[in-house]
């Protein structure tokens, strides 16, 4: 390698291309592994090329830049987050499928991918699902929904919102690059040293992981700050904290957790980077390093993180149960208290991730009991949701299918969680597939079903038409069945003593259940395909599925009081509300469509800003330079980020005015449409007759 090459490209050589694995293959399994890796990389490259081609062909670069990338509208940023989440979901699901196939074939050492490749797969799968699927999905939903629910025009810091998205996307881009310029880390999503230290893994893998996670962590911290300030300061008149929809409460708790939990992660990855780049000895085997400190820091983040993930889903479920039972939420106060309890307790249990590290029994017992305590507020929530359906009128629309499946499956996950909370039981189940089954049981029916329910629920608000229910049901049932088949066998395998992260094994007793799990994986892939078809079919039939009146589900909260898709300025005038279920109250009084009390006024909206996308490009370049030791690129990226941030501080012209008469025209057209659009009963909700004009359930149902 010439000096010039290494000056420009650092340690990046042609060896980084996955096709090399094919060339160097010495047996069938390595060949297959190379083909899998090359195909994946090829798909990523082709996808990117096609995107560039399509954008060029249809002259969409301009609109993409003006209307989306530089937009600071919370709704558009929310949509971009969810798009990012769905794209990353597709990749991580494909990886999960390859891993399930490998384990089903891995009895006796066979299979599809090499051990090294398998390790990269579980590392990227975990990293993506947590940081680049779940986090963007929930951040996207909060972004879109929360400001509307509290009657605000935007989040507190719109440009910073776009910056958060930029950092998250930068991390995701880094992960996509690692598919083409390999390898990624083999240290799992937790990246435990000393395995990820330079002494054992000098290559670029752990560095990819460090920078991807760090970037997304910065983005998430900023999001948390943004949401908290928005909820504290931007609620409309009359909306007390205890009047907020429960989704706002869970958003608030999640955001508080984001602010406090992400810094330990950033510290942990930062210290690991110091070890790797500058020869420090924070977590090394020698020189006084101690990996236990990493485990503590990581899980000080990691445990609150699981509640960051689950709480917004709890918020979605609260909205879903109430809406589709035509009933106000049971036990609102209890649910708020339970949410806060969970948020606080989530910081007191991190040791349960390493009961087996050799600490004293007393310490383990205390953390075990603290872990069990979280079961109390969580249990209360489950019962409160059941009582919300009780004495209601339950409609099994698609979001409700997810929600009901969640109640049952999440309870099973809670049972396995309580089992694992016992240190003496954790000793035999830690690091086995039982643990893997447990956290997937919490995260799929808990988080992912919640996100999909939210996606189905709020899609019409964002795009003006409902998602095709037929394909929605198919997707939902396949997700549920697929989950059961893919993960219940893993409980069994864990009890049979099968460790996690095994590419191959030599114990015939494990084989049958891995095969069942593969069947489940096939069903989950089919479920995802149904979601894609659903999106395609719905876009195609968008005229028929349109709900311009904006309230397709006879919902109860403020975001449904405006047209679908929601106008840029959200509300013609900032609303004034009284009590909970603000929109339900308006509907019952017949005031849902009136003009603002004191007339229309000019609305001041934030101007677009290029800071977010510029920081995204700059930080991606910086991280990529650091991964491959292209120091000039790292410096350049850092300078771009710094310069852009400083330059942004000199902007003066940051707002623009939407004229009162434009607002008036748009709102009056909406009110006029209401006169010609019939109100429909709930039985027609999932038909093309639904125009988003609901007759309130309390009028319709009289028994």
């Amino acid at each position: 390698m010439s000096d010039l090459w290494s000056l420009v490209f650092g340690r990046l050589t042609l060896d980084a291309l996955p096709v090399l694995e094919i060339i160097h293959a010495t047996n069938g399994r390595e060949l297959a592994s190379g083909i899998v890796g090359t195909t994946a990389a090829g798909l990523a490259v082709l996808g990117a090329l096609y995107l560039v081609y399509a954008l060029t062909k249809y002259h969409l670069w301009g609109p993409l830049w003006r209307d989306w990338l530089t937009s600071v509208d919370h709704k558009k940023i929310g949509i971009m987050y969810v798009v990012l989440a769905l794209v990353m979901l597709a990749r991580a699901l494909a990886e999960a499928f390859v891993m399930r196939t490998q384990q089903a074939l891995g009895d006796g050492g066979g299979g599809l991918v090499s051990n090294e490749h398998f390790a990269q797969l579980f590392s990227t799968h975990g990293t993506i699902m947590i940081f680049f699927m779940a986090m963007p999905f929930l951040t996207g939903l909060i972004n879109y929904v929360m400001p509307l629910q509290i009657g605000s025009r935007d989040v507190a810091f719109p440009t910073m919102n776009s910056v958060s998205l930029g950092f998250t996307a930068a991390g995701a881009v880094l992960l996509m690059i690692s598919l083409v310029l390999q390898p990624f880390s083999t240290g799992g999503w937790t990246g435990y040293p000393p395995f990820t230290e330079a002494a054992f893994n000098p290559g670029p893998g752990p560095d990819y992981w460090i920078w991807a996670v760090t970037l997304s962590g910065i983005g998430t911290t900023l999001s948390g700050i943004n949401f908290v300030v928005t909820i504290y300061k931007f609620r409309c008149d009359g909306m007390k904290l205890m009047d907020m929809p429960l989704f706002c409460w869970t958003s608030l708790c999640t955001s508080i957790l984001m602010i406090f939990a992400l810094p330990p992660l950033t510290v942990a990855t930062g210290l690991l980077a110091l070890d790797r780049y500058l020869g420090f000895h924070m977590f090394t085997n020698d020189g006084g390093g101690n990996m236990m400190n990493f485990a503590n820091l990581f899980w000080l983040f990691g445990h609150p993180e699981v509640y960051i993930l689950i709480l917004p889903a709890f918020g979605v479920y609260s909205e879903v149960f109430s809406t589709f039972s035509s009933k106000t939420l049971y036990g609102y106060t209890a649910l708020v208290i339970a949410t806060m309890c969970i948020a606080v307790l989530s910081f007191t249990v991190w040791v349960h991730h390493f009961f087996t590290m050799g600490q004293s029994a007393n310490l383990n017992a205390i953390f075990g009991i603290a872990t069990m305590l979280i079961g109390i507020p969580t249990g209360v929530k489950i019962y409160d949701w059941m009582l919300t359906m009780y004495r209601g009128r339950v409609r099994m629309a698609v979001p409700m299918v997810y929600a009901v499946a969640f109640l049952i499956l999440f309870t099973i996950g809670g049972l396995s969680g309580i089992l694992l909370a016992n240190p003496s039981l954790d000793y035999v189940m830690h690091n086995t597939l039982f643990l893997v089954a447990h956290f997937h049981n919490m995260l799929i029916p808990g988080l992912l079903f919640g996100m999909l329910a939210g996606y189905t629920l709020w899609f019409p608000k964002a795009f003006g038409f409902i998602l095709d229910p037929k394909w929605g049901y198919r997707a939902a049932y396949l997700w549920i069945a697929g989950f059961v088949f893919a993960f219940f066998p893993l409980y069994g395998l864990g009890i049979l003593g099968m460790p996690r992260r095994m590419a191959e094994y030599f114990n015939g007793a494990w084989f049958p259940l891995t095969l069942v799990a593969l069947l489940g994986a096939v069903m989950i892939i089919a479920a995802f395909a149904c979601l894609c078809i659903q999106l395609y079919v719905s876009i195609k039939n968008r005229e028929a599925l349109a709900v311009p009146m904006g309230d397709p589900w006879d919902s109860r909260t403020l975001e449904w009081a405006v047209p679908a898709p929601a106008p840029e300025w959200n509300f013609p005038a900032t609303p004034e509300v009284e009590g909970r279920d603000a929109f339900a109250t308006l509907k019952e009084g017949g005031y849902d469509l009136r003009a603002p009390d004191d007339g229309y006024h000019d609305i001041e909206m934030p101007r677009n800003s290029a800071l977010g996308p510029v920081l995204m490009v700059g930080s991606t370049a910086m991280a990529f330079g650091l991964v491959w030791y292209m120091w000039w690129l790292a410096a350049l990226g850092a300078m771009v980020c710094f310069a852009a941030t400083v330059a942004c501080g000199f902007r003066r012209n940051t707002h623009r005015i939407v004229k009162a008469e434009d607002v008036k025209a748009e709102w009056e057209a909406f009110c006029a449409l209401a006169d010609t659009t019939p109100r429909i009963p709930r039985s027609l909700e999932q038909t093309t007759q639904n125009m988003g004009h609901a007759s309130p359930a309390s009028e319709e149902i009289t028994s």
Binding site: F195, D286, G288, S326, K327, G331, M372, N431, G492
Partner: protein, 288 residues
């Protein structure tokens, strides 16, 4: 739970025949206590789980939108008795489970010596094999872990590489092995038998092969085995140590040493090897 039941039956079936790798078919007192604890938790948890499993289908049927027969009260949102119930029952369950948890954590503490005259075995994790040193017998093995049945075994564990986890599922608890540190584990086997031992913490390319055969044998067989190992084994020399420290699977190691079969016995083991791996002078002070 209904869905889980067949699974557990499967598990019991498998646990009984092949592999001997499940704590639910326990082969020792620790695993037996853990198995009993497992079913205790599952049973007590039914107090809070069954209402969900039964209640949810009942509610969505009775209060369904079309032809639902229950009464409809859209504003009903609070009931004091129910509130006491939904907080109170989980609290009681957690108290019941918490007492058991605290008790089990103390009694099944892996560091707590079991009653009786224990055999000491020192365990060192390498990439990707385990070295077992028998200080009293003056031998060491790779691949086979042999000890007398019905007698406590006291493991002192460390790692000469990345973190690993030493685990014999049929006997119970696992514990991490970390460089420059010593962890402890006390287990015992009830009766003679063969079990699967493994590393459960991913540690690199050869991770999946880092298992070992556990043989709980009679006291006489153990003595005979140790003596024959002492007499017929390989010397533990510099070559052997370097081969152990190199990244290799067990079978690659045995190839290097020119040994056929699945395991090797060394006629001696440096008495201070374990201590030198388990203590890192740069770590300042004792860290267990």
């Amino acid at each position: 739970m209904k869905r889980l039941l067949p699974l557990f039956l499967l598990v019991l079936l498998f646990g009984g025949c092949e592999g001997r790798s499940s704590f639910l078919s326990p082969q020792g007192p620790i695993a037996a206590a853990q198995s009993q604890h497992f079913w205790y938790v599952v049973t007590v948890m039914m107090v809070v789980c069954l209402p969900v499993f039964i209640g949810v289908p009942w509610i969505i049927l009775r209060y369904r939108y079309k032809h639902g027969r229950g009464d409809y009260s859209p504003r009903w949102h609070f009931s004091k008795p129910l509130e006491i119930l939904v907080w109170g029952v989980p609290v009681l369950v957690v108290i019941a489970l918490g007492i058991k948890l605290a008790h089990a954590t103390m009694t099944l503490d892996p560091y707590k010596p079991l009653a009786g005259d224990a055999v000491e075995i020192q365990v060192i994790g390498y990439d990707w094999k385990w070295l077992f040193i028998y200080p009293e017998q003056g031998i060491a093995t790779v691949g086979d872990l042999v000890f007398p049945a019905d007698r406590p075994v006291s493991f002192r564990i460390t790692s000469d590489t990345v973190m690993q986890s030493f685990f014999i599922p049929a006997l119970g608890s696992q514990i991490y092995a970390m460089k420059g540190m010593e962890t402890r584990l006390n287990l015992a086997a009830t009766g003679v038998g063969e079990f699967l031992g493994e590393n459960s913490q991913y540690s690199g390319d050869g991770f999946a092969t880092q298992s070992f055969a556990v043989h709980a044998v009679s006291e006489e067989d153990f003595a005979t085995w140790a003596e024959s190992g002492k007499a017929d084994g390989m010397p533990f020399d510099r070559t052997a140590l370097e081969a152990l420290q190199a990244q290799s699977t067990r079978s690659e190691l045995l190839d290097t040493l020119g040994v056929s079969g699945e395991s090797v016995v060394f006629t001696d083991a440096p008495p201070d090897l374990f201590t030198s791996v388990a203590t890192d002078p740069s770590r300042m002070g004792a860290m267990q």
